[in-house]
């Protein structure tokens, strides 16, 4: 991994490496943390026994390969043993899933999308519940942003779309006024890593939890949701393009394997 990072360092500029380094660092820390959590939330002895029995039955298949009934019995025991092993891994999994899911959701705000670059055109989409309100929708921009085309109405989807561009880095609030209500959506223009909320929802608790970083729109607002088309982030690592979560999965798994062996933890 060091070699890959070194190559990346040599071939890239520093700012573009920051997300990679952060993802690697977080993955390693989480790898360690989760292995330790696994250690204290699992029945280590039982997991050790279950794994040993699985290995024994695998060896039995090899040792007694000439005796088909023995092989078949060993295979049945392997299936049963795998079930027991998964059951034993289930408790720590249940304990870990909540904080890890929250963590991933939060990290996804930073690593899931890239902020808009200065002078980069983006789309602002608003889903408005009735056609009347959609027709009245008016976009109010701060001075640093400007609209580059007239609004497009898509009645079928109850949507209004604006094409916007920002010239300077910063966090800006865009306002959409309609039917006597004004709603706001944040837009981030930056060249670094920033917390991004691609969509703002009205209600929809679970959707907000997993995809938005902004408070809910008012319940009586005719606007159901506002979204900004941030480009998804791709991380270059080891001559490949990675979604950060995939990279996180791979690196934390490798780190976990290393730490579990070093700390003598049964996983």
């Amino acid at each position: 991994m060091t070699a890959f990072v070194t190559i990346n360092l040599a071939s890239s500029d520093w700012p573009s490496l920051i997300p990679l380094l952060l993802v690697l660092a977080i993955s390693i820390v989480i790898g360690l943390l989760m292995v330790v959590v696994f250690r204290y939330t699992s029945d280590q002895k039982a997991i050790g026994r279950a794994k040993d029995r699985l290995k024994a039955n695998l060896l039995a298949v090899r040792l007694f390969q000439d005796q088909l009934p023995v092989v078949m019995r060993a295979y049945a025991r392997i299936l049963r043993g795998t079930g027991s092993y998964l059951r034993l891994a289930f408790t720590p999994f249940l304990i870990a899933i909540l904080p890890i899911t929250c963590l991933i959701v939060q990290l996804d705000r930073y690593f899931g999308w890239m902020p808009l670059s200065p002078a980069q055109t983006f789309l602002l989409e608003a889903r408005i519940e009735d056609a009347e309100a959609a027709n009245q929708a008016e976009l109010q921009l701060p001075p640093e942003l400007s609209s580059t085309a007239p609004a497009v109405h898509i009645p079928k989807d109850k949507e209004v779309v604006w094409r916007v561009v920002g010239q300077r880095e910063g966090k800006y609030d865009l306002h959409i006024a309609t039917a006597g209500h004004t709603v706001t959506k944040q837009v981030v223009i930056s060249t670094g890593v920033a917390r991004i909320s691609p969509v703002r929802w009205r209600g929809n608790f679970w959707e907000r939890m997993f995809t938005s970083g902004e408070p809910a729109l008012e319940e009586n607002s005719p606007v159901e949701a506002i979204a900004v088309t941030y480009p998804p982030r791709v991380i270059n690592f080891a001559w490949m393009e990675w979604n950060w979560i995939v990279l996180f999965f791979v690196v934390s798994l490798i780190a976990g394997f290393i730490f579990k062996s070093a700390l003598g933890i049964q996983v």
């Binding site: 040993d52 040792l63 005796q67 979204a227 979560i245």
Partner: protein, 715 residues
């Protein structure tokens, strides 16, 4: 629009993931489903296991018809004329026919009674001498010791009159790389088996009969054959010895254990204590032994202590054994020896004393091969957990030296026995057809150590009232009978069951130092001014010595041209000397008891035949009932007294006149032979499987009656 649908899709997948955690575990394709390395490992390991198992099974399944076809051709040889489907051999080392008959007559041992009444019960003639490695070597090879080269546990080096282990030789790697003070070994230690001859399971395997062989003595190093084998007696501990226990104590003592153990001081370390387990010699050639340090934290109120070694930490109450604990001996430069041992907390107040078993080779990570294939010992360790691998796993020395008490020793024996039972029943399940043989050593060790309670007049417990003597040996036979009962329930009528032992047992109440007798009768000379000699003939004047003894029953002439400082001319002089010794020793009376100490002295030229007879002792001494070679005599020591009481816990023995200690033969089939011998077992098994007998066999196959099958089997 795309953006909304992307967000919604992302949300949906998360939602579904949370609801279907089980499925998420199995199919972590969406990244959000990932819940840390723990789940990742579980999923990957499970899939890996299932995949490997599937591939193995698939391979086994696909190739099965071809292999079955090949085996059919091979098996035609084996099973074509076979009289049995399976032979199960239960070896009970040292089971005595006289005791077995006595207990059966007393209405005990119901399963042995069933075998006796429905099948066979006979004394089984043993070998000369009646010692386990000799007898079990004959059992497996079907030949006399002159052809398998094992005459005792020990053999003597003709160059220096020193002993070496007769069954196996472990030598250092031949090549080393010298780096500064270190000598880096290039390659592995070489293990060479010294037992000659071919075990009968090799012939069976070759003919396509599957064999599972567990802990038969003198099978170390394990030899390649088509079957599985776990080595038994003669497997060394990690130090390379036949078992060196470690007694860690805060008590100061300069006494050394006679053999089999080392005393290690325990030092105070803050609120706790620390000590160490001595390990093997440093492989890097630094000249020192490796060691594994451990800490002890006594809890006097709780009558227990916490022991920490490597990453292991466990609590023990006084008088309690730990499980098998893995121990690593690190030599540096990546060299680590892996062993396992058990701790027994003897005392925590006023002194702290911990007994540690000899460090056994770890069966899950064997540094030396202890099974064939190597994976078999690993398979058993994974299936049942770590187990004793040392040849003489029951620590008789520790009981002899009073480090262990009776109860602790028995707990150790039966702990090992239970492990062995589990292995045996697994082998029985895995061998539905073929040979399944297992030797249980508990019978030998318990009788050695507890015969004193059976013998009314044994000097070791002379003052103990008869009614207070525990019935350890009766209990032992009951347990073995129960095991036989369990086996009988698991075998079908087409399986032939053989229960055998290599020798019987007698009391060992009086010790005889034969070297002292040889000295007092002018056959062995000591250096000027000496009237005794230390271990291994330290003070013997070889230039005037004509005969000497070492080991349990062998008597050697100091033969010119053979021994380094031999003085007896081969031929007439040697023959005359042998005759003279035989005449004087045979019928030798113990003046204290008035009983015969030696009932037979056997000329090896008469009892052995084969290419290795030259390595045999010249005479085999057959001690009378109640006698045995003294502990000193075995170790080549010359004392002033010839006879003395045996006050040790080791109170029963079989190293006497072999005619007095036959083994047992029980079977579920009628065997029509009056005087069966252990040498006959191999030819009998080969014949039962319809194989041609090798011409060099000394044993003769027994006529075995066909099974009496129930109606449906007969049909």
């Amino acid at each position: 629009m795309k953006l909304f649908s992307f967000c919604e899709k992302r949300y949906r997948s998360l939602h579904v993931s949370l609801l279907l955690i089980g499925l998420v575990l199995l199919f972590p394709s969406r990244s959000e489903a990932y819940a840390g390395p723990g789940a990742g490992f579980a999923v990957l390991s499970s899939f890996w296991t299932i995949l490997v198992a599937f591939l193995y099974s698939f391979y086994a399944l696909v190739t099965w018809p071809i292999r079955q076809l090949l085996r059919m051709f091979r098996r035609r040889k084996a099973y074509g004329k076979a009289e049995v489907k399976r032979v199960v051999i239960l070896g009970f080392d040292g089971m005595d026919p006289v005791l077995a008959a006595r207990f059966m007559d007393e209405g005990k041992l119901p399963n042995l009674v069933k075998l006796r009444d429905g099948g066979t019960f006979r004394p089984l003639r043993t070998t000369f001498p009646a010692i386990s490695p000799v007898a079990w070597s004959t059992f497996q090879t079907g030949v006399n010791p002159g052809k398998h080269n094992i005459y005792d546990f020990l053999a003597r080096d003709l160059k220096n009159y020193l002993p070496y282990l007769s069954s196996a030789q472990i030598s250092e790697p031949k090549r080393h790389l010298k780096i500064g003070k270190y000598k880096l070994p290039l390659g592995k230690s070489e293990v060479k088996g010294l037992r000659k001859g071919t075990p009968f399971w090799h012939w069976l395997g070759k003919a396509g009969v599957f064999c599972s062989v567990i802990r038969v003595p003198v099978t170390f190093p394990p030899e390649k054959f088509p079957g599985v084998l776990l080595s038994g007696m003669c497997v060394p501990d990690l130090k390379g010895s036949q078992g060196t226990f470690c007694f860690c104590t805060t008590r100061e003592s300069s006494d050394k254990f006679r053999e089999g153990g080392v005393r290690i001081p325990i030092e105070r370390n803050g609120v706790g204590f620390r000590s160490f387990i001595p390990g093997p010699e440093n492989p890097l050639g630094t000249g020192n032994d490796l060691r594994a340090d451990f800490k002890i934290r006594p809890d006097i109120r709780g009558n227990q202590a916490r022991i920490e070694i490597d990453s292991e930490s466990f609590s023990l109450e006084v008088g309690q054994y730990s499980e098998w604990i893995p121990v690593k001996f690190k030599a540096g430069m990546g060299f680590t020896a892996h062993g396992i041992c058990r701790f027994w907390l003897k005392e925590i107040s006023p002194e702290v004393e911990v007994y540690v078993t000899p460090v056994n080779i770890d069966p899950g990570r064997p540094d030396l091969p202890i099974s064939h294939p190597v994976t078999y010992s690993i398979y058993l360790a994974k299936l049942f957990g770590p187990y004793a691998t040392l040849g003489l796993a029951e620590d008789t020395w520790a009981l002899n030296e009073e480090v262990l008490d009776d109860e602790a020793f028995l707990a150790q024996c039966y702990g090992n026995h239970e492990d062995r039972e589990r292995m045996f029943f697994d082998a029985l399940e895995k061998t539905p057809q073929g040979l399944c043989a297992c030797v249980f050593d508990t019978t030998d060790r318990v009788q050695h150590m507890f015969w004193r309670y059976l013998d009314k007049d044994h000097p070791a417990v002379r003052d103990m009232p008869q009614d207070q003597k525990p019935r350890v040996i009766e209990d032992l036979y009951d347990r073995m009978d129960a095991l036989i009962g369990k086996v009988m329930l698991q075998i079908d009528p087409e399986t032939m069951l053989l229960v055998i032992s290599d020798h019987g047992f007698k009391s060992f109440a009086r010790c005889m130092n034969l070297n002292a007798w040889l000295h007092q009768n002018g056959y062995l000379a000591l250096k000027e001014g000496k009237n005794q000699s230390g271990d291994w003939f330290e003070d013997v004047d070889w230039s005037r010595t004509r005969a000497y003894t070492m080991g349990l029953n062998g008597l050697y002439l100091n033969l010119k041209g053979r021994e380094r400082e031999g003085i007896v001319e081969a031929g007439a002089e040697a023959e005359t000397l042998k005759e003279e010794l035989r005449a004087k020793l045979q019928g030798l009376i113990d003046p204290a008891s008035g009983t015969v100490g030696i009932t037979g002295v056997f000329d090896c030229d008469a009892v052995y035949a084969g290419p290795y007879v030259d390595n045999a002792p010249d005479l085999i001494v057959g001690y009378g009932e109640g006698f045995r070679a003294s502990w000193d005599s075995v170790m080549g020591k010359v004392t002033s007294d010839i006879f003395e009481d045996n006050l040790k816990a080791w109170s029963g023995d079989h190293c006497v006149d072999p005619r007095l200690v036959p083994g047992v033969l029980f079977s579920n089939r009628k065997i029509a032979v009056e005087k069966p011998a252990i040498v006959d077992v191999a030819p009998t098994i080969l014949k039962l499987f319809g194989l041609q007998l090798p011409s060099y066999f000394d044993g003769k196959p027994w006529p075995v009656a066909p099974p009496i099958l129930p109606a449906k089997h007969a049909a």
